[in-house]
């Protein structure tokens, strides 16, 4: 690790402080959504369509309604007054043909698992019993699941307002210049790359609970959410049409999200509406198979790539036409992911002068697709990192050399990648530093020698690189508001800090962790800045009541935006503490400084007023400087001036069993640069988990629909979420190149592992098979797929 700073007495930033969250989590005390039990609470089960595409001619709920223990049964018609959900981020600058879920679908379903009826019952068992008693008259319609088939002539049309099943047709870059550069290139490599559908699988599925107070018309809604403030905004303003003051949204402990809990789901609206309809608290918790069919999926691109290069490996042009499968109906920010977060990152870590990208968002009769850890950047990184290896293979060059040749050099920052970032620039970077360290760890030259020897024995060993860059810290509101971005929100963050009379600090933040340890990280910042023990900091989050608005947690923004809001707020608190401290010391403010939890006259730190004394004086307000308000507190909103761009090098080493096609992952090395690090232990943990998810895409996971639109990988029996045994120990290190975007120097670390690791593993497998002439294989690299490729290559 690169943590070498000397520890000051109160400086906790940069240290591996153990998590303050853990006490509740390791004892089973932590309350998650399904652990909520309110007096009189009724239970909800949802009936879902067994067809991928069908008309609903009628629903008979009478038998279910009579079943013992059933309180009520409803269908979509009972919620006709509520509109379809909002699509809050559409592809910018082009028309979006939007279709979003209703509270319950009324006359048509467009994917297997769409919700059509709901049972409210006294027990979970009774609710499940009654599901089987609801009779739905479906008229099955023609189904299309393949993204390219869906846009072909004659394909079944899924939505009337979306001709050709197109959600949007979005382009960036200079297509003319790119085509010209491709025409002039020494070599042009073309490939079709499938970035398969993934099922995010947080350990806790989705759920919601709600109460409704008729006397005031107020709802309280608990939900598994990464952004309760946004949930309240979307539900009140766009669905219920009530003031946001009439709803309180609460996220309890959240058992992982990985993007899936960003979105407003119709079930959340349904539960709130049911609380009002049945006049009792209600709760719904999805089953794992519901999570698989009805919670959002991720990725699912088919990309046609053309990359042009000079003979020395200099990449001169990159072009793609990408089909993004967005499912049967749109989730909350579905069109934004394959456009802004994918197309705008197609330069990777490289100086590519000509880039053009066309993205077709497509409806198919499959589950919704939206952000999944990395969200667009893994797809972009996969394309770019495979492109580099394809160029290297075509030219017979070392993939490391091709990377070095094309890297954006440290002196080129801030860097505008061919204009595709719509005005943003990469902040800082030193890409070779991370690469060099990773090569040293893996002993690259040594490996190549071993590989050569292994090849002579008929063994297939390979090494794969991913020298990625990604975008974090969403986002400057002015940029979001730029014509062409299409977002329906801003993305600043808030912090409210109150230092109570005893000197204990309560910090209310608008980000919403699902395991990232915000309470610990924020406590470290507070304790460091105010000079108080970390035990004296309490972090509050997850409740819209009494909290300033916050945009929530996704896109690795919580430290780089939320953390900076906390930091900035603390500067204001320290300034006030300095003013009050100076008054208490009977000194001029200019002569007093605040450091290490004390205000003192410069040069005389022994005569000091502690933060606790100052907080007490501020709260008592017996004797404050003239014009000073009582109490030591502040609320700050921070809008970042730019995004941040973490980078690094990941290396995978594999050996392939040529008889079975099994890929054995022997080593995995990551050298990330996420800027300054607040808590190395937590950042390592984020990287580990991300790597595991990214490797899983390369080797095991794939959400597969059959031609009837049935999800064949609909449970943990057949969707291969990796187990502990599947991984070698991860060798994780960092370089540290602070960002100049924010005063903490932090970039973001939640998604680097997922973004980087997938192409590293695929590149390693292809490297291993290079002697057979294999240049590309689509994921997941299951034993059968690898074996088939070997057989075909040998034939």
């Amino acid at each position: 690790m690169t943590v070498t700073e000397e520890r000051q007495t109160t400086t906790l930033v940069g240290e591996s402080v153990k998590r303050v969250e853990d006490a509740r989590l390791i004892t089973g005390e932590a309350k998650y959504l399904d652990d909520l039990n309110l007096p009189g609470m009724a239970h909800v089960a949802i009936l879902r369509s067994p067809y991928a595409h069908a008309r609903i001619n009628g629903i008979d709920t009478s038998k279910a309604a009579e079943h013992p223990g059933v309180i009520a049964v409803y269908t979509g018609k009972d919620f006709e007054d509520l509109p379809a959900l909002p699509c809050a981020w559409q592809a910018g600058g082009v028309e979006n043909f939007v279709n979003t879920p209703r509270v319950l679908e009324i006359d048509r379903v467009t994917f297997t698992g769409a919700a059509v009826a709901v049972v409210v019952a006294e027990t979970k068992y009774a609710a499940e019993d009654a599901l089987g008693l609801i009779e739905v008259d479906y008229e099955p319609l023609d189904v299309v699941v393949d993204v390219e088939a869906a846009v072909a002539e004659g394909a079944p049309q899924i939505h009337e307002n979306a001709p050709g099943n197109i959600v949007m047709d979005w382009s960036i870059g200079d297509a003319g210049a790119t085509d010209k550069a491709l025409g002039e290139a020494d070599v042009v490599v073309k490939e079709r790359l499938v970035n398969q559908r993934l099922i995010p699988t947080p350990m806790e599925g989705r759920g919601a609970a709600a109460t409704y107070e008729p006397s005031t018309g107020e709802y309280t809604v608990w939900m598994t959410s990464q952004d309760p403030h946004i949930m309240r905004l979307l539900m009140t303003a766009f669905v219920f049409g009530i003031p946001e003051t009439k709803m309180r949204c609460i996220a309890l402990h959240v058992g992982g999200g990985f993007g899936t809990k960003i979105f407003l789901y119709h079930e959340y609206v349904l539960i709130a509406a049911l609380a009002q309809k049945v006049g009792r608290p209600v709760k719904w918790m999805e089953t794992r198979r519901e999570n698989y069919v009805a919670t959002t999926h991720g990725r699912d691109h088919v990309a046609y790539l053309e990359v042009g290069a000079k003979r020395d490996g200099t990449i001169t042009a990159l072009k793609t036409k990408t089909y993004a499968n967005l499912g049967g109906i749109l989730s909350t920010i579905a069109p934004g992911i394959p456009t802004t977060l994918y197309g705008r990152m197609l330069s990777g870590a490289y100086r590519i002068p000509n880039i053009s990208c066309q993205v077709l968002g497509v409806y198919t009769n499959t589950g919704m697709v939206d952000a999944y850890r990395g969200a667009g950047r893994p797809e972009a990184t996969y394309l770019v990192e495979r492109a580099v290896d394809l160029v290297a293979a075509e030219l017979g060059l070392d993939p490391v050399d091709v990377r070095r040749r094309n890297f954006i050099p440290p002196d080129a920052f801030p860097y505008d990648p061919a204009g595709i970032l719509n005005g943003l620039e990469y902040d800082t970077g030193d890409y070779e530093k991370a690469l060099d360290r990773a090569l040293e760890i893996v002993d690259y030259e040594g490996f190549r020698r071993e590989q050569e020897a292994a090849r002579k024995q008929g063994r297939y060993r390979g090494i794969g690189f991913s020298t990625y860059v990604e975008i974090c810290g969403a986002a400057p509101s002015a940029w979001i508001g730029t014509v062409g971005e299409g977002w329906g929100a801003s993305m600043w963050e808030s912090a409210m800090i109150r230092v109570h009379l005893t000197g204990k600090a309560v910090v209310t933040i608008g980000t919403q962790p699902q395991g990232q340890g915000h309470a610990t990280t924020v406590s470290q910042i507070v304790a460091s800045e105010l000079g108080i023990p970390i035990e004296d900091v309490t972090v509050e989050l997850g409740d819209t009541l009494n909290a300033p608005f916050g945009y929530g947690t996704y896109a690795s923004r919580s430290a780089a935006v939320g953390g900076v809001a906390v930091y900035n707020s603390l500067q204001k608190i320290k300034a006030k503490a300095r003013r009050i401290g100076a008054h208490m010391l009977e000194a001029d403010v200019e002569d007093v400084e605040f450091a290490d939890g004390k205000a003192f006259v410069k040069g005389a730190p022994d005569t000091a007023k502690t933060i606790q004394e100052i907080a007490g004086a501020a709260a008592l307000a017996y004797d404050l400087p003239e014009g000073e308000e009582p109490f030591l507190d502040d609320t700050t909103y921070y809008d970042p001036p730019n995004c941040t761009f973490p980078f690094g090098t990941h290396i995978a080493v594999v050996e392939i069993d040529a008889e079975t096609g099994e890929v054995s992952l022997e080593r995995y090395i990551a050298v990330d640069d996420v800027g300054k690090v607040i808590n190395p232990m937590i950042v390592d943990g984020q990287v580990h988990g991300g790597i595991a998810q990214g490797i899983a895409q390369a080797l095991w996971e794939s959400g597969v629909y059959d031609e009837d639109g049935q999800l064949r990988t609909s449970s943990l029996m057949n969707y291969a979420v990796p187990k502990a045994e599947f991984f070698p120990p991860f060798e994780v290190e960092r370089t540290e190149t602070p960002t100049d975007v924010n005063p903490l120097g932090v970039k973001g670390a939640g998604e680097t592992g997922t973004i980087a690791s997938t192409p590293a593993v695929v590149n390693a497998v292809v490297d291993a098979l290079m002697p057979l002439g294999i240049r590309h294989l689509d994921m997941p690299l299951t034993p059968e797929r690898v074996w088939q490729a070997i057989e075909q290559a040998k034939a």
Partner: protein
């Protein structure tokens, strides 16, 4: 439907085998419950809808493991107890190894051999090995007790020779003759841990030559198939690499109608069976020589 809680059923926990058999005979919709690791998940998904469960847990003696020449495993012997049994480990090490890698630790703590073989999942581990070892299954029903060869017991996908009202009471595995080695090699499904393909090989060697062999393939067909031609090719051989390769080439002919799914096609499963057979046979030869 996306249920995760069972539909209603009655429940009995008899204290004798006779009582259990009476309960099962009285209600055709009832099913015996052993460790529940296959049945309860089916109940939760409402893919099984029995009218009653007859829980065998109070019946004494059903979980016993005894070795007296042959090995007798009570129907309620858990996978963990098989894996950890000194008798099994010393006399039938391949069987102990199989039990140690079946499912996962929690499943091994509850799941039983009787439950597993009665369920007869085509991708389960025990059926392949029991067929290779020439094991017999003892079952009791309203018409009394009978003993079936494993070859006759396993009949297809989730199908056994058990009659309604009949339940497995024990499994008996003959002693391995001197100079006999057995091995089980499996390619696990990365999600379910069931066998995508698995091979049990049993070889007997005398004076450096194979006198008898069994090669049984699981996961590819239902029930598991004896690769008789491969076994025949091994007889008389010394177990050299070339001889094993020649034998293994005959494995596919036993695998007509190979199953395929999202994870692995029938073609690949058949190929895997060959590769795994080679590895299992080599390991069995090594054991036979030890």
């Amino acid at each position: 439907m996306y249920t995760m809680r069972p539909a209603e059923f009655d429940y009995h926990a008899p204290t004798s085998l006779e009582e259990a058999l009476t309960l099962l005979a009285e209600d055709e919709g009832s099913r015996p419950l052993a460790g529940g690791q296959s049945l309860i998940p089916l109940l939760k998904l409402r893919l099984a809808l029995p009218s009653a469960l007859v829980d065998l847990r109070r019946i004494p003696g059903l979980d016993e493991i005894s070795a007296n020449g042959g090995l007798t495993l009570g129907a309620r012997a858990t996978h963990r107890s098989v894996a950890e049994s000194d008798a099994v480990r010393s006399g039938w090490p391949a069987l102990a190894e199989l039990a140690a890698q079946l499912g996962d630790p929690q499943v091994r703590n509850c799941g039983t051999i009787g439950g597993s073989i009665s369920h007869a999942d085509p991708a389960a581990d025990y059926p392949t090995m029991l067929k290779a070892l020439g094991a017999t299954v003892t079952a009791k029903g309203p018409d009394g007790e009978r003993t079936l060869a494993a070859d006759d017991f396993f009949q297809g996908v989730f199908a056994t020779a058990l009659e309604t009202g009949e339940l497995v009471t024990s499994v008996t595995v003959p002693a391995l003759a001197a100079g006999t080695g057995a091995a089980y090699v499996k390619h696990r499904h990365p999600a379910s841990f069931y066998a995508v393909a698995a091979v049990a090989a049993v070889v007997s060697v005398e004076d450096g030559a194979c006198t008898d062999a069994r090669v049984t393939v699981g996961g590819v067909t239902a029930p598991p198939a004896h690769a008789e031609a491969a076994a025949e090719a091994l007889r008389g051989s010394s177990g050299s690499e070339e001889e094993i390769a020649a034998a293994v080439a005959q494995v596919p002919e036993a695998l007509t109608g190979a199953r395929g799914d999202t994870y692995a096609s029938g073609e690949y499963r058949t190929h895997l069976a060959k590769v795994l057979a080679g590895r299992a046979i080599a390991a069995a030869f090594e054991r036979a020589a030890a």
